[in-house]
């Protein structure tokens, strides 16, 4: 056994091959810098897909249940202020916001339970809670409620998309939601796997760059090549005619190549003028 080992390691070529092909503790020479993406918390609007937050409301307007009250129209300013949002608890403002969103999407005047009305209500609730979580970041129950509700909304949007695509598009546009489906395979981000992906991307980039430069090189050679081709074809035709042999190169063939050259030059001139 020792004899074999000695024989293997004494040969310099085999020893270098062994070092090159080792997989354990392999270090790449490429200078790829991997930056771990920052975690987006589940209660963040970037995660739930809400593009707009809950707006600021005019505090002088009445609470929702007193908005149609006729007595308040003739009441004095102090009473009006008492029934406004200014002195009302926060959930009264949220109630008004939810009502606005539902009214913007509901099917008919009595509608509260259709899928679009439900999603509008949940959207309002999510945005109100996202606003609140900024003030109370340690309220775990609130964070859980946001996560659960936004997941529920996403699930229902998934179903709506399957049933009625046009309505789904209209709804996400009206409510300003971004819909991204879940990825097929959900894996935790690791340094090793990310570096592998980045290395593959790097290799693809190199390949594409080289292909592009080669294509440009060939395209640059095209006019010279075509001119040479015309000359060669003319020469062959002339020789064949002079030697009284069967003529294999037709005049139309030569004209076609000339036309091709003209088109190519014209195309390049157009491109240059466009760039200028």
């Amino acid at each position: 056994m020792n004899i074999i080992r000695r024989a293997v390691f004494s040969n310099p070529l085999t020893s270098t091959l062994l070092i090159c092909t080792r997989s354990y503790a392999f270090k790449s020479n490429l200078k790829i810098k991997w930056v771990r993406p920052t975690k987006i918390p589940c209660y963040d609007p970037a995660k739930s897909g809400d593009l707009v937050p809950m707006p600021e409301f005019d505090k002088t307007q009445f609470q929702l249940e007193f908005q149609k009250c006729k007595e308040l129209a003739s009441a004095n300013d102090l009473v009006k202020r008492l029934f406004s949002l200014e002195y009302a608890p926060r959930h009264r403002t949220t109630q008004l916001y939810l009502r606005q969103l539902i009214d913007g999407t509901k099917r008919h005047n009595q509608d509260e339970g259709s899928i679009e009305a439900k999603i509008a209500r949940w959207t309002g609730a999510i945005r109100a809670m996202q606003d609140l979580v900024k003030r109370f970041p340690h309220d775990v129950r609130l964070r859980v409620r946001i996560k659960e509700l936004s997941d529920k909304r996403k699930k229902q949007l998934k179903y709506l998309r399957r049933w009625d695509y046009k309505k789904f598009e209209w709804l996400i546009d009206t409510l300003n939601i971004v819909y991204k489906p879940h990825p097929i395979d959900f894996r935790t981000v690791t340094r090793k796997e990310s570096l592998r992906k980045l290395t593959n991307q790097h290799c693809d980039d190199i390949k594409n760059d080289r292909l592009k430069t080669y294509r440009l090189q060939l395209e640059a050679e095209q006019p010279d090549f075509l001119q040479e081709k015309i000359k060669a074809l003319e020469f062959i035709r002339k020789e064949q005619e002079e030697c009284n042999v069967c003529v294999t190169v037709t005049q139309t063939e030569i004209d076609d190549v000339r036309q091709q050259l003209r088109n190519l030059l014209q195309k390049r001139r157009d491109l240059n003028t466009k760039e200028e």
């Binding site: 991997w34 930056v35 771990r36 993406p37 920052t38 593009l51 009214d103 913007g104 999407t105 509901k106 099917r107 008919h108 005047n109 009595q110 509608d111 679009e116 998309r161 399957r162 049933w163 009625d164 695509y165 046009k166 309505k167 789904f168 598009e169 209209w170 709804l171 996400i172 546009d173 300003n176 939601i177 971004v178 819909y179 991204k180 489906p181 879940h182 990825p183 097929i184 959900f186 894996r187 981000v189 796997e193 990310s194 992906k197 980045l198």
Partner: protein, 159 residues
């Protein structure tokens, strides 16, 4: 073995899945494969690429695809014949009416009219065709991935 079976048949019914190719679409074809030990059929899925230069097929559509007389490329073996069911636009095969969930669209509209349809409600006639929000707010036509690298650029398909 199963793939050979799929490529043999002339017409296939497949579901369109996200694909980055410019002139072709990818289809998921469901087949039943016999397990000779258990003598039972099990569901298997095969993926077929079909020529679709205009990219008419969208993700989720149920499409009839036809085998090309000769293979176009290493991957593309079929071509699109007909979009049978566009995704999210279900038609009842018996009556030919449009269906949403378990209800006819006409019936839902009739109920809305009786209760008084609101001006802001969704209107099917004025709604644009599917795909106008692609890459703007709707990213369901592509495969999303978990973000693994922060390169300073916007990654719209990363979750």
């Amino acid at each position: 073995m199963a793939l050979a079976a799929a490529s043999k048949s002339l017409l296939l019914l497949g579901e369109c899945v996200p694909c980055l190719k410019h002139n072709a679409s990818k289809f998921k074809v469901r087949r039943f494969e016999l397990d000779t030990n258990l003598l039972m059929y099990f569901r298997t899925w095969e993926f077929v690429y079909a020529l679709d230069p205009e990219k008419k097929c969208k993700t989720g559509d149920v499409v009839l695809i036809e085998k090309c007389p000769e293979q176009l490329t290493r991957l593309i073996t079929h071509k699109v014949k007909e979009i049978v069911y566009p995704h999210g636009d279900v038609i009842d095969p018996l009556t030919g009416k449009k269906v949403v969930g378990g209800k006819f669209r006409d019936h839902v509209e009739a109920v809305n009219r009786i209760y008084g349809k609101t001006a802001t409600a969704f209107d099917y006639d004025s709604a644009p065709d599917r795909g106008w929000l692609e890459d703007i707010k709707d990213f369901s036509h592509v495969d999303t991935y978990v973000k693994y690298h922060e390169n300073g650029e916007d990654q719209p398909y990363a979750v």
